[in-house]
Every structure is written in structure tokens, then in C-alpha cells.
């Protein structure tokens, strides 16, 4: 197995790597490689830096002068302000949305990962009729467009009264369902690659499936669980589609929704748009910088989802 398959379990890809790992000849990059990479890095960073700088500049300055002019005199304290963040958090309701985003994302990560872990264990280490067929179904559903679910679920939630009584419940369950195929797929591939001897010896010692799963497999699967958890959390945090259809605006709106509305209604209020945009990015950026390894694994494995 190479690491080329869609949603390749990164762990197995890595396990396959050492054989081919080579000594890296240090710094054979010529001037072309160096300057091309420098240009790309600058291009990739500048848009974000512009938003970050602008979000701390006074309103009249943001609206009349380019953000790069602030870099000419960065020590001039008069141009910097936290006012934009205050405005966007309180007057524009982003503080409420920030909490909503957390309220949506945390359960929507925990529920599917636990359920998927149980299923993944069965697919990896138990024999039962339908095992192969059901897993092929899971593989097939990996790339299914989420759009298939919305019309029937809107009707179903309406009929059951979920959309009125507890709109968050509908979103949690939807995200859990949508995330399930990928979670089962990643975790089953990881659990399946664990050593058979460990599991056999636990079985000889009299452990049942539940015991093996809970005391042996779950602790051993931490890397895969972490990678998937990070992927799913960020996916839900960054999602607009599900939030737009099932939560919409008002009291329950999440950050992405609120920002998209802000863009629509405050077209030229760049001091609010930049600070609002940066607010939605804070949590993902913290995750990115603190858990980069799991983060890259999770996001690469999950890129098929949509």
C-alpha cells in the first residue's frame, strides 16, 4: 500500500516509509528554487497578514489608506486599536456566535468519533455476515456530496419538530452522520494495522471483545483518534453549508454564518470585516500551530469529505 490512495491512513503510509527514506542531501537548492519558493511563500502569506494588520487599525485609517502603509511606522501607537474587535464581538453579535460555534463543534466531534471507534473495531477484528458489504458501502459514501442529505433532512426535522425544539440537536446529529464514513474508514484502517499477536494474547488471557476494545485498542489508537478529532472539529468549525441550512441566522447563528452575513451587509466596513474574519480564524490557527503533526495528517486524510 502506498500513501497515494484517497484518504490513505497516514499512519500506514508512514509505516511504509522507512524502507524508502533516504539521506537528505542538505541544501542543494539553487537560486531558482530559493527565489521561487520565496515568492510563493510571500504570495501565500500576504493576504492573511493584510487582514491581521487591518483588524487592529483605526476605522478611518482602514477605510482610506492601504494596510501596508501602517508597516512604515509600526511604532506609532495612535493607529492601533482593539475597538474593531469590541465592535464586532458585541455590536455585531460575534461573541454569541463564537459560543454557538463551540456549542456546535464539540458535541459534533465527540459523538461520531466514539460511535465510529466501536464500528471500526468490529470491521477490523470481528467476523460477521455483511462485514465486507457494509464496509464497501462506507468506502463508497466517502465522497458522496453532502447536498444529498439536505432536502429530506429538512423535511424530517420539520416533521419531528427538531428544527423548532432544539435546532442544535439537528446539527449535531447531521454532522455526526456526515462524518461517520470517514471516521469509520480511518479508524478501521488504523486498528486493522495493529499487531494481531497483542490482541490474540489478550483473548487467550480471557478478555472479551469489549475489554480488548476499551483497554487495548482505544489507547493504542490515540494517534488516529486525535487526527480524526482535529479534522472533524475544524471541519465543523469552518462549515457554512450545514449551519446555513439547519441553523440560519438569529440567536443560533455560528461564526461562519455571521461573517458571511457581515460581508453581505457591511460591504465597505473593512475594520469590521477584517476583525470578524480573524475572529473566525483564531481557533483553527491555534490548533494549527499547537498540533501541526496531527493536523496535517487529519486534514490530508479527510480531504475527500464534502
Amino acid at each position: 500500500m502506498t500513501d497515494t490512495s484517497v484518504a490513505a491512513p497516514p499512519e500506514r503510509a508512514e509505516a511504509a516509509k522507512p524502507a524508502a527514506t533516504r539521506e537528505k542531501p542538505p541544501g542543494r537548492a539553487g537560486w531558482f528554487a530559493r527565489s521561487a519558493l520565496l515568492v510563493l511563500c510571500v504570495l501565500w502569506l500576504i493576504p492573511t497578514i493584510g487582514v491581521l494588520v487591518s483588524s487592529f487599525r483605526a476605522e478611518d485609517l482602514v477605510k482610506t489608506t492601504g494596510w501596508w502603509t501602517a508597516l512604515a511606522s509600526p511604532l506609532d501607537a495612535a493607529q492601533w486599536t482593539l475597538q474593531n474587535y469590541g465592535d464586532v464581538l458585541l455590536a455585531e453579535g460575534m461573541a454569541n456566535s463564537f459560543i454557538n460555534s463551540l456549542v456546535v463543534a464539540i458535541p459534533a466531534t465527540i459523538i461520531p468519533i466514539l460511535m465510529a471507534a466501536f464500528a471500526a473495531y468490529a470491521f477490523a477484528w470481528m467476523d460477521f455476515p455483511g462485514r465486507y458489504v457494509f464496509f464497501v458501502l462506507i468506502v463508497g459514501l466517502l465522497v458522496v456530496p453532502l447536498q444529498v442529505a439536505f432536502i429530506p433532512l429538512l423535511q424530517l426535522y420539520g416533521d419531528l419538530g427538531i428544527s423548532r425544539a432544539n435546532p442544535f440537536l439537528g446539527v449535531w446529529l447531521a454532522h455526526a452522520g456526515f462524518g461517520m464514513p470517514l471516521a469509520v474508514y480511518i479508524l478501521r484502517n488504523y486498528m486493522g494495522s495493529l499487531s494481531r499477536e497483542i490482541i490474540e494474547s489478550a483473548r487467550v488471557d480471557g478478555a472479551g471483545h469489549m475489554g480488548i476494545f476499551w483497554r487495548l485498542i482505544i489507547p493504542l489508537s490515540t494517534p488516529a483518534l486525535a487526527a480524526y478529532a482535529i479534522f472533524q472539529f475544524l471541519w465543523v468549525w469552518n462549515d457554512l453549508l450545514v449551519a446555513l441550512v439547519f441553523l440560519g441566522g438569529g440567536e443560533n447563528s455560528v461564526l461562519t454564518y455571521q461573517l458571511s452575513q457581515l460581508v453581505g451587509t457591511r460591504k465597505t466596513e473593512w475594520h469590521l470585516l477584517t476583525s470578524g474574519a480573524f475572529l473566525t480564524m483564531i481557533v483553527p490557527l491555534i490548533v494549527f500551530f499547537s498540533l501541526q503533526r496531527y493536523f496535517v495528517r487529519g486534514l490530508t486524510a479527510g480531504a475527500v469529505k464534502g
Partner: protein
Amino acid sequence: MIYKILNALIVVFVGVVGVPVLYFALNALVNRIPGRLRTWLRPYVFVGPALAMVGVFLVYPAVHTVILSFRDRFGQEWVGFSNYVDVATDASMREVVFNNILWIVFVPTLTVAIGLAVAVLADRLKTTAERVVKSVIFLPMAISFVGASTIWLFVYAYRPSGEQIGLLNAVWTLFGGEQQAWTQLSAGNLNDFLLMVIMIWLQAGFAMVLLSAAIKNVPVETLEAARIDGCNEWQIFWQVIVPQVRATILVVLTTVTIFVLKIFDVVYVMTGGNFRTDIVANRFITELLSARNFGAAAVIVVALLMVTVPVMVLNIRRFREEEATR
């Protein structure tokens, strides 16, 4: 507010404690069943709940959506193929499909080209420098499509007069151009391409990570052999590296293509589908939420589904091959 947080805390509690308890309870129940039935039932305790979720939230809705595509806008009466006819003959739909074709042609190829370039070039840097470059290119993957769109809206920002605050207009006027409302310029589909830039900016990191892993797996002997034979670096890239990572390139191309089909956020935020930039996934949202035409929305979903089916089949076939060689 308090109610909402409490609500979430209860769910987190139910999720962390309740879900395992559910499984343990089901398992204990199965333990009381005698003999062979017990062994037969136990695996379904493990897979049952997850399969039920997949059934309720993906399989049932998919089937139901196909049915709805043959019903009227409220999902009530059978109307045969008339939704399909309406969507196919809608003049504005032609433009939407054309735009989507542009996206599918340009975004995956440019994403792969940039990802491959970074992967190959950064491989020649020292380890720390390589890591920094890769982090910079990967960073946008963390950002939501809405956030990224806002970032780029600011790059494209336009003021009718006075100093330009958008980077693109500032550079453009610096070189003697007239300031432009870039996202509204539909001539030559220019604004479509400006929106595609956002998608490429977001996805290049993904392509880079997969391609970089593949490149590091290229046996160094093949590179050295080519070098001894007098190939220059450019020839080595095209004739030694690219053929050996072709499988990965294809996987990244299909993955990004499927992704491009499904993403509506960029168009939704940047133009709302105006100025001739609409694409299929955004049209779905318009039909579903604004027009409230379930029939037409369902037809669009069926079309999306049809395009993804070959990839599904491909994934399943590859999975079966891997299983056979396990």
C-alpha cells in the same frame, strides 16, 4: 444563552458517558443471550449504531432526494421528468454549468502544479527551511472558506476614487492601471478566475503534502542514475520524478475535482452568484433556501451525485484490490 450552554454540556456528557454506556448496556444484554445467537449478535452491537447513523443521514436521504427530483417544488405531486427538463432548458443554467467546467478544468490542475512545484523545490532545502515553507503553504487549509473569501475580498477591494486599500488595485494603479471592481468584471470570465484563486490558495497545501510524501518515496538510485547519464534537473523532474508519482497526481486531481464540485462557500460569499460567477453548488443553495424549489434542488443534487459515482466506483475498486493483497 445559559440554556444553550447547558444544552451543549448535557450533550457532551451524553456523548462522552452516554454513548459508551449504551454500548456496554447492549453488550451486557447480548451476554445474557445463550449460545450461538450471542456470538452472532455481538458484532452488530459494535457496528449497529454507526451504520444506523449512516443509514439515516446519508443513505435514506440520498434515495429520497432522487425520488424528490421527480416530484413538484413542494415534494408533493409526481411530475415525471419535468424538473429535469426545466433545469436543462433554463438559460441561466447553461452559464452555471460552463462556469463549473472552468472551475473543474483550472482549479485541480493549477492546485496540483503549485503543490508539485513546492514539494519538489522544498525537498531541496535544508530540513528546517523545508518545514517552514510547507507550513506557510499548508496554513490556509486551517481557514474556513468564508474566512478565506473575506481575506481575498479585501485583496480585491475597490474604491471608486482616492487611495486604494485593496492590494490588487494598489499594485494595478501603481503600474498605471485604472482601479477596477475586480469581482464584478465578467468579461472573459475574469472574475471567475479571481474566485478560483481562492480555492487554489486553500488547496495547494493538500496537494503539496501528498505529493511531497510521494516524491520522498522515489528511490534515490533512479535520480542518481539519471544524473550520471547526464540529465539536467529539468529532465530528471519530467522523466524520472513525474512518472513515478503519477498515481498520486491522479488521486490529488480527482480529490480536488470532487471537492470543487461540492464547494459553494466561495461564490456565496464573494458574489452571491452575481456578475455571472454562479456555480452548481451555489445554485443548489439558491433553489433550496431562496426559491424553495425542492424539485429543482433535487435535480441538481442528482447531477452532482452522477458525477461522483465514477469516483465512488474507483475508490471501491481500489479498496478491493488493497484487501486482496493484504
